[in-house]
Amino acid sequence: MTGAQWPTEGPNKDQVKEMYMSLKTTLLATAIALAATAQAARAEDSFKIGSALGLTGYAATGDRNWRDGLQLAADALNAKGGILGRKVEIIVEDNRSQPQDAVVAYRKMLSSDQVNAFDSGCVSAGNMAAASFVARAQVPMLLCSILPQKPEEQAWAFSFLPPPTFEIDARYGYLRDRTQIRKVGLLIDPTPYSQLMKGFATRLAPQYGLEIVAEETYKPDDSDVNVQLGRMNAAGAGAVVKLGQGGSTVTVAKNIRQLGLDKMVLMASTDDGGIFKSASEVLGDRFYFIGSAVQFGDAGPSEKAANADKSNGAAKAAIDAFLTPWVAKYGDRDTGQASRAYDSVMLLAKAATAANSVAGPAIKDAIERVGAYNGAGAVYDFSDKQHVGITKNPYFVGQFVNGRPTVSK
């Protein structure tokens, strides 16, 4: 087959020379460009925050929000003179939601960009793969994902993700207090966060007077879950508690409707508002989701802030400070992850200012000493023994009413 595509005669001498020179020039240019990339951005007068994000691949929806939240915070800080007089620079690298690409991205930001700290997205495997050498380099990692596994890696990592038990508490509490449903089916995807939730979901059910009648698994890219839902229905489940994020939530909603399960409700994990809206359009008032205060209400920043703990003026101010520029720039786009990204940069700035240093170890120690910090997405309270910052449940159970996310009463 290939034989037909090849010329029957070889090139003449001039052609060979020309091709060789062209190849040589290309390779030389490649080497120069690679060297330039490796040496890029060594400016000394900026505070560099590196972020490995899944801008493509399965984590794209959430991680793009994370990126925009980071940039919003950087813009706000720069408007006030930056961090310790240095301009805040967000360096974003796409890890394609793959651990291998995440490692290259982290290495590039460490060696070429010489970042002061990392503030990365929700691709757990990518962050875990990089955690060992980031810890050795003594650069703090602020993460959207769960913490890495090894204690020596955890020492340099700070998670801005609410602990999985909070999702379970919020949903189980709602079922116990507001509904007659006592039999529940768990629909679980295999991601690390969902697996952690599964353990809590099983253990906590009896404490809320609930019975787990079915545990079914699915993959995030499954095109339907009819079989799993059928088994849950046969076991008498009145509610599907979904442990996992992404477009599969809409798939589950559609399947519940297609199967005619008119009494079954769906309670989704924390996720992007766009997904909640789509699922709600399918299931109507039988679709529930969880979100933090900043995700509810769309009449404007003040109304959203009012959903927060009214006694906490600092929380209300933090939500307003984030939402005003966010809404101006991105309109109705979901705020769940972006607000926590924004908070992470603000907390980082506070720590660096307190430490009066941009060195990794000083910033790490300062983050552990900041104490309770009221952010737009939650309250964070890191310490040397507590590297999962959210210690108070920030979630409300919500529904869409008249097309608007509303706290379910």
Binding site: T2, Q5, W6, E9, G10, P11, N12, K13, Q15, V16, M19, Y20, L23, L27, T30, A31, A33, L34, A35, T37, A38, A40, L55, T56, V92, E93, D94, S97, Q98, P99, Q100, V103, V104, R107, K108, L110, S111, S112, S124, A125, M128, A129, A131, S132, F133, P148, Q149, K150, E153, P190, T191, P192, Q195
Partner: protein, 300 residues
Amino acid sequence: MLGVGLLGFVMLNGGYLVTVLGLAAIYGVFCTGLNLFMGYTGQASFGQSAFAAVGGYGTAILCAGHGWDPVAGLVVSMAIAGLLALVVGYPVMRLRGHYLAMATFALGLIVYELSVEWSGLTQGYMGYAGIPPLGFAGHELGTERAQLGALVAIMLFGVWLAERMKSSRFGRALRAIAGSEPAAMALGIPVSRYKLAAFVVAAVYASAAGSLFAHFIGFISPEVFGVPMVVLSFTMLYLGGIGTIWGPVMGAVIASLLPELFRGLKEMQDIAYSVVLILMLIFVPGGLAGLLRRLARKPT
């Protein structure tokens, strides 16, 4: 010479390009093995990632879980992968063309699912962390540059072995099968047996690549050995020149460096990378090795 120059430049300058070249060397090993099966034998396998997973998880479990020496973990994982390839390949190698491709693809998916679901062994999506760097008899290669040196040496050894196989009786039989299976059979070559042998050898290479990846990165999870690995290795193989000795290595290096060249383009990076790949496949159909062969051909 260019390769030596590039390696010297990266070794001297350090930085993240050490990681990029390290991964390229690992893929060089993987693709050299795949090339034996696809390039020389003319068979299609979409499931080599399965054997890389066996190598990666074998190394992780033996070295991180049980404190084995990296070399011992590497060798035992290769043996397990070879045995698995023998057992699976015995019935599968009787298939041809699309059926063989589908069967091997299914093998890749099965092992991927196992790595996700058998979390008691593989830790599922949580991944396996704390895998030690390459080393021997208690001496670890502590720096990335030392590891890169070792990876390049292993890759060159793999290429040398492949070259030896290619010019052996075994290699000639494989090429005869690639030309025409009925004709090879008529010449007395036991086609299924030779195909199986090539499959096993390719699996052993893939397993070595998986082990090296685990040692180099220190962490593995199922995503590492998913479909993207298959797509990337095919890209490398065709870019470098399938059926040539140095093609897989050249493809691995170029396909690893190209994204870095375009990194400054940010969101356009993937588009630029894809455009260059398409142009190369159109205008250099025999791969880079083919191009160099044309350049080296004596002018008429």
